[in-house]
């Protein structure tokens, strides 16, 4: 049993758990930054910037995740290679699009064709982070946009009455107060993001669900030292436990953050905290 659970294949599923956690850890702050940028742009005074923000939110939220993952990543990858091709191989005569094929010179390949496998994997991982950040950034932008509007108008008017500039009002009054309105929406997004990681496989990154399916599949004695029937149910059960635990931990952390943010706020929650203390 111990031998079975420490085969190279099982080691891969353990590493993929780390991959998924790492992806979440990197993606969440970047997506939040994208969201903040998008929300700020969408409520900007400058018309083109506002259009940009609103288009970003509407467009990305409207496209199905799977379509976005398949199309955008390939397009992005090819765009990068196209630019590198133009810069690095000026003497190249052959067309880049040959029928179905996308052909660039060797030096323009991303990553280079002779790069070791881990470089390919990190590149795929990087693409995954960026794509996740763009998709979830759009949702976060919408949440933050709504949260910014939920801050009581009187707060902003008071700030202006004190002679604060637009910028000061934004950073000192609006932003600190909006988080409490944004958090329920953001925590929802976080939960969805946790569960969206199997989309990684579309990008060639092998995640836990892939390995669970591969390990749980029927193994005939000829091809393995550990033949077994269809064990996918047990592996998926383990996944279920993992995801539920993860969700539970997230919920506890979110509740803590929420009670911190509520402190001193002009909301029902803040009022309740004040009364409990008094």
């Amino acid at each position: 049993m111990a031998c079975y659970l420490t085969t190279g294949k099982h080691m891969s599923i353990y590493t993929s758990v780390l991959t998924v956690l790492l992806l979440l850890g990197i993606t969440a702050p970047i997506a939040l930054a994208f969201g903040f940028g998008g929300a700020t742009a969408a409520r900007s005074q400058i018309t083109p910037l506002r259009w940009f923000g609103k288009t970003y939110i509407a467009l990305v939220r409207g496209v199905p995740d799977i379509a976005f993952f398949l199309f955008f990543v390939i397009a992005l990858d090819q765009a990068v290679e196209y630019l590198r091709h133009k810069v690095l191989c000026p003497g190249w005569e052959a067309p880049i699009r040959q029928g179905n094929d996308f052909v660039v010179c060797q030096a323009a390949k991303m990553p280079l064709g002779n790069a070791p496998q881990w470089v390919h994997e990190s590149y795929g991982f990087g693409l995954a982070v960026l794509t996740f950040a763009i998709v979830f950034g759009a949702f976060a932008a919408n949440v933050l946009f709504g949260a910014m509007r939920a801050v009581p108008r009187a707060q902003l008017e008071t700030a202006e009455a004190y002679g604060m500039s637009q910028r000061q009002t934004f950073w000192r009054v609006l932003v600190p107060q909006m988080w409490v309105y944004a958090l329920p929406g953001l925590s929802n997004l976080w939960m969805v993001l946790i569960k969206a990681t199997p989309l990684l496989f579309l990008l060639g990154v092998e995640d836990i669900v892939y390995w669970a399916r591969e390990l749980g599949g029927t193994k005939t004695p000829r091809f393995t030292d550990y033949p077994h029937g269809d064990w996918r149910m047990w592996y998926f059960l383990a996944l279920l436990v993992f995801y539920l635990l993860f969700t539970r931990v997230s919920e506890i952390v979110m509740a803590r953050i929420m009670s911190r943010l509520t402190h001193g706020q002009a909301t029902a929650g803040g009022e309740a905290q004040r009364k409990a203390a008094a």
Partner: protein, 241 residues
């Protein structure tokens, strides 16, 4: 014979010159890793099977540095075409439809008869529900016949569909089904077989002519000295060259 070696040598030489751009390039071999005995992941999580042995030998003969990559069957052609790897070596039968999108080398297996696996002898192959993997010659065959086709993304799921009664039978390559039927008492291989496809070949981008010639030459030498037949016997795949 002499002539063949000469042409091979000439081809290899000229290919070497044209490939100046790709000098020192690593050839990435893309496979599915879920279709024993052709390709699967062994206990260590590495690609193994008939095609692993074959691919390594071909790369040695063609003097290429090769590397193995796994990719889902569904997107295996799009990812080749967009350049994520250079060769498909995944038990892919040569068909006219695929040949329009990618190029194939000469075949390295003879057409392997496709067989049915079911839970009972009297499964209805004419009008029943038959399972096959998406985008395979078997799926295309069932779609043409009168039976109802249910498609699955992985070979594993097609077998599971028969075991839980969702489908009456699975149609797949015989070499894949044989070890499954042997190790599972509930499943039996049916008498009826279908001859589909034109054998398995390596899939390459249509623009990769030089690479294709290199592999063609290497396959030819393996057919010539009988080492390909040895591999076929070792992995119990029917048909000898």
């Amino acid at each position: 014979m002499k002539n063949l070696i000469l042409t091979t040598a000439v081809l290899a030489l000229s290919a070497g010159m044209v490939m100046a751009d790709g000098h020192g390039k690593t050839i990435r071999l893309g496979t599915e890793g879920a279709y024993p005995p052709y390709n699967f992941l062994n206990d260590a999580g590495e690609v193994a099977g008939f095609e692993r042995d074959l691919g390594d030998e071909l790369c040695k003969r063609a003097e290429l540095t090769c590397e193995w990559v796994t990719n889902e069957w569904d997107s295996i052609i799009p990812n080749l075409v967009s350049g994520n790897y250079d060769v498909i070596i995944a038990g892919m039968s040569i068909t006219d439809e695929r040949d329009e999108v990618i190029d194939f080398t000469q075949n390295y297996t003879l057409p392997d008869p496709s067989a049915y696996i079911a839970t009972s002898e009297d499964a209805d192959l004419k009008g029943g529900v038959l399972a096959a993997q998406t985008n395979t010659i078997q799926a295309a065959f069932i779609a043409e016949s009168g039976a109802t086709l249910v498609e699955f993304a992985t070979p594993e799921e097609t077998i599971a569909a028969v075991k839980n009664g969702e489908a009456d039978a699975v149609l797949a390559d015989k070499a894949f089904l044989t070890p499954i039927a042997e190790s599972d008492a509930d499943l039996i291989m049916l008498e009826q077989e279908e001859l589909l496809g034109g054998g398995i070949g390596l899939g390459l981008r249509e623009s990769d002519g030089e690479l294709k010639e290199k592999f063609n030459a290497a396959i030819a030498t393996m057919k010539e000295d009988g080492s390909l037949n040895e591999l076929l016997t070792k992995w119990e795949i029917s048909g000898q060259f």
